[in-house]
């Protein structure tokens, strides 16, 4: 085994069919950096096209990266890569979770965990440093995740970190999650673990990660980063006026202010002014109870939680006594963002406050109840799409048509109609436990349409927010930096989960400053437009798209949190609000001892993203990515109307809609930026070979999948 820094040097391999457990060398994959990159290479090498996600031949890979477990800020992410059940072609995709799991992997001595095969009976994988074995999982199979995690923790100790599925994953729902900790969920691959009869992976590690640099060098870079880091989503401008702040931004997640408290803490904690360089108050900058659950949640907020080695605490931890009083469930809930709003989207008729309730109280109860249920059953909302799909199929009478009459009649639609969150209890039970026909709402949009024949109107309706006919929704698309977000969203096999571009545009500084930094990074200020004031496609935007795609791949490989990184802006006027987009390379070089510039890392990420593209081509069986993969649904390229019903032409103020012609131009520019074939969007033989992947070129050529 090679002596390594940053990396542990070892990959854990587990075959559940045979029970064989062995070790592989990480460093043979080092060109792919770590996490997602290495996982893509393993999937390319070992999982042939046509494999079903739920077959034993599929593999599921838990990946950490070289920066994970080293103390680099915001480095607690776990990358999970496998075939994606909800994708029409079962293409490879990745899901991600925060928490402490990947750090514990590193402390136990493992860079990646690769699981294949299928156990004859339910098991869970137990890892205590280099001791690895399979435990009988029948006693936790069928349990909700809160109970099952407690049961396994009782065996291993509370310091163990556990990645687990709930009944939804066990029952192989396409839309199911893998969860770690109280609230960190990776959506999409829960069913793959279920298909392998693998309930959980539980890890205890007592080691550490070796770092090449002297400790004070790493500490100095950490301290430097504290002059750059902002709040959640790297918002560097506060929402409310502060004496230290030159700017404000109404959507900023830097929500701290005098008089805003973690109200249920004992004693209550005031978030306060949070001066940018004050390391003691970094964790107070973002109040996610207030942000996600509304002002009413302030007095129910106990604290903010988050991930290993992250000073930004973005998971609210709230205590809602009403949950225990009304529904008999644990009043302690933790989650963030779509972890709350996604399940609450099931209540699409709204949740009006009842007499005697505070403003927003019923919504808060609905969000926290839904969060608890989704996290216990392990149901994925497909970035909020499940609620919109339920809305469409209910409102258009489809459910009444496709559900057996007795099943339809047995559902308490009256609770949904009047906004009673109790509807969620019955809904999640039916879906997670595959009862009747309704559970197919968790097949994912593409498969729902196939089964229930939703028709073109379903895809074309803008409020359904479906981005691609591959069945995934908007996740920072055209509304986020015009063509940049739109094109970023075209290269995915699921919701794009890309925050490199969205955080850049939402930093909070005025447009003029955004344009200055865009010019420095992408060659022209025209790479970025103001919101709802878009201009036609240009080369700068194509550069921005490539940067966003490759940076996100890089973060998922290192593994850094792309909900925070890259650090393009700083809250400090003394830095002229400039961040440092070479920080990833600086940390990588210090930690691993392998000198890398940001251009070196960008090239490595380009290699990995190109391999991801090749994987998609192989699974779809066509090189024509432009027409078969990268297209949007029709609403995206249809002019919208103003309040008075008057059409707003594209590229005039007041609309974020695209045109087909402009998007086609954009696709071509991005393909060219990657060195791919401009007609098809497929990597060329020359590009694959230049990136050091001749074997990929050879296999695609043999299958007739290289562009002419």
């Amino acid at each position: 085994m090679t002596n390594t820094f940053g990396y542990t040097g070892k990959i854990l391999r587990v075959d559940l069919t045979t029970g064989k457990i062995w070790t592989d060398d990480t460093m043979k994959y080092k060109d792919f950096i770590g996490g997602e990159g290495m996982s893509m290479k393993i999937m390319w090498d070992e999982v042939p096209a046509g494999t079903h996600p739920f077959s034993p031949e599929n593999k599921i890979i838990f990946g950490s990266g070289p920066l994970c477990g080293t103390g680099v800020p915001c480095s607690g992410r776990t990358n999970i890569t496998s075939l994606l059940p909800s994708n029409p072609d079962h293409s490879v995709s990745s899901s991600h979770m925060g928490g402490y799991f990947s750090v514990e992997m590193k402390y136990a001595g493992w860079d990646l965990i690769v699981v294949e095969g299928k156990s004859a009976k339910p098991v869970w994988l137990r890892i205590e440093d280099d001791k690895v074995w399979l435990e009988d999982g029948r006693w936790v199979w069928g349990k909700g995740m809160f109970d099952a995690m407690a049961m396994i923790s009782s065996q291993m100790g509370k310091e163990a970190q556990i990645a687990m599925i709930g009944p939804a994953g066990e029952n192989q729902l396409n839309l199911s999650v893998i969860r770690t900790g109280a609230s960190h969920s990776a959506g999409g691959h829960g069913g793959v673990m279920g298909s392998k009869n693998l309930k959980a992976i539980a890890i205890k590690g007592t080691g550490s990660v070796k770092v090449a640099a002297r400790p004070e060098e790493l500490m100095a870079l950490d301290k430097y980063m504290m002059t750059i880091i902002g709040a959640n989503n790297q918002h560097v401008v506060p929402r409310f006026p502060h004496p230290w702040a030159e700017y404000t931004a109404s959507g900023s997640r830097w929500t701290a202010k005098k008089g805003l408290y973690w109200g249920a803490a004992n004693p209550p904690v005031e978030t306060g002014e949070c001066y940018p360089e004050d390391m003691q108050s970094v964790g107070l900058r973002t109040h996610k109870g207030f942000q996600d659950l509304g002002a009413v949640a302030e007095k129910y907020t106990v604290s903010m939680g988050g991930c290993a080695h992250c000073p930004i605490r973005c998971h609210s931890q709230v205590r809602i006594p009403q949950l225990e009083e009304r529904y008999g469930i644990d009043p302690n809930v933790s989650n963030t963002c779509v972890g709350y709003s996604g399940p609450n989207g099931i209540m699409f008729k709204g949740t009006p406050d009842l007499p005697g309730q505070e403003k927003g109280e019923q919504s808060m109860i609905s969000k926290t109840l839904g969060s608890h249920l989704a996290d216990d059953y392990g149901v994925w909302c497909n970035y909020g799409q499940m609620g919109r799909d339920l809305n469409w199929t209910y409102t258009h009478g489809i459910l009444k048509k496709v559900l057996p009459a007795d099943e339809y009649a047995s559902i308490s639609w009256d609770l949904l109609e009047k906004g009673d969150p109790a509807f969620l209890i019955d809904f999640y039970d039916r879906v997670a436990n595959k009862k009747g026909e309704l559970w197919h709402i968790a097949d994912g949009s593409y498969w729902i349409d196939k089964r229930w024949n939703l028709g073109e109107e379903y895809w074309a309706y803008d409020k359904n927010k479906l981005w691609s006919k591959l069945g995934y929704p908007v996740h920072h698309a055209n509304e986020s930096q015009s063509q940049v977000g739109a094109l970023v969203s075209c290269f995915s096999n699921r919701d794009a989960q890309n925050h490199s571009h969205s955080n850049f545009g939402a930093a909070g500084v005025p447009l003029e400053l955004l344009k200055q930094v865009a010019a420095e990074e992408f060659g022209t200020p025209d790479a970025i437009d103001g919101p709802m004031d878009y201009t036609p496609m240009n080369q700068g935007k194509a550069n921005f798209v490539k940067w966003a795609l490759t940076r996100t791949m890089l973060h998922n490989s290192l593994t850094l949190c792309n909900w925070m990184w890259p650090m393009a802006f700083s809250p400090l006027k003394s830095r002229n609000y400039r961040g440092d987009t070479a920080l990833e390379a600086k940390f990588y070089s210090l930690v691993t001892g392998i000198p890398m510039t940001k251009e070196d890392l960008d090239r490595a990420a380009t290699r990995t993203f190109t391999l991801f593209r090749a994987l998609t081509i192989r699974s779809m069986g066509t090189a024509d990515m432009r027409n078969k993969h990268d297209q949007t649904t029709s609403w995206v390229i249809t002019a919208t109307k103003d309040k008075n019903g008057k059409e707003i032409p594209q590229f005039t103020k007041g609309t974020d809609r695209m045109t087909q012609e402009d998007m086609e131009k954009g696709r071509g520019l991005v393909y060219k930026a990657f060195g791919w074939d401009e007609k098809t969007g497929a990597p060329t033989k020359a590009t694959l070979e230049a990136l050091g992947m001749p074997e990929v070129a050879a296999e695609l050529a043999a299958k007739g999948l290289l562009p002419a």
Partner: protein, 175 residues
């Protein structure tokens, strides 16, 4: 040289302390005599204490130290101190429409440092709609009922409508 600090030096410290406490210092609070005032003018023009800044209002002169607050924040305090809430809102809205550019949620004037009551805000919004010198200030309402103001010198109606909808609804739906 005297061991005692000059009155001007003492005023500078008063200004800094007030700024540290997030307050402007009005000239009227300093009880300057004419000689002191001249000294302050000299001090500012010579930039001997270059953190001390002056804003000239219709009611008073206001000092602050930019060691402790930004000019932007001081401008908010200045507009509050001038006690013309209609002008405070109109000028703040104009700034935001010009700088970012974006419409301004009226709810922001309920927050510090403005701290208007809802009733007072409603009254001032009516005043703005009647004032000839504020004809450029327009309002738009997002689909969730949130009201925003903008200056049509910097934002068109269609642009302001869409930005308000994005701020109030779009960002919530696209977290």
């Amino acid at each position: 040289m005297s061991d005692q600090a000059s009155p001007v030096t003492a005023y500078v410290e008063v200004i800094r302390e007030a700024s540290h406490a997030t307050k402007l210092t009005a000239l009227s609070e300093l009880a300057c005599n004419e000689q002191d005032l001249a000294g302050m003018e000299v001090l500012l023009s010579a930039q001997a204490e270059d953190d001390i800044k002056l804003m000239r209002g219709s009611r008073d002169l206001y000092y602050f130290s930019d060691k402790y607050m930004t000019s932007a924040y001081a401008l908010h305090l200045f507009r509050v101190a001038e006690k013309d809430p209609a002008r405070m809102i109109a000028d703040t809205v104009r700034d935001e429409s010009r700088i970012y550019p974006r419409p301004t949620p009226i709810a922001s004037f309920l927050e510090a440092p403005f701290r208007m009551s809802k009733a007072a805000l409603d009254g001032v919004l009516w005043q703005i709609s009647q004032r000839n010198d504020m004809e450029d200030i327009k309002s738009t309402t997002a689909s969730d009922g949130s009201i925003y103001l903008y200056s049509n010198e910097y934002l068109s109606a269609a642009h302001a409508d869409s930005l308000a909808e994005w701020e109030a609804v779009g960002k919530v739906e696209n977290p």
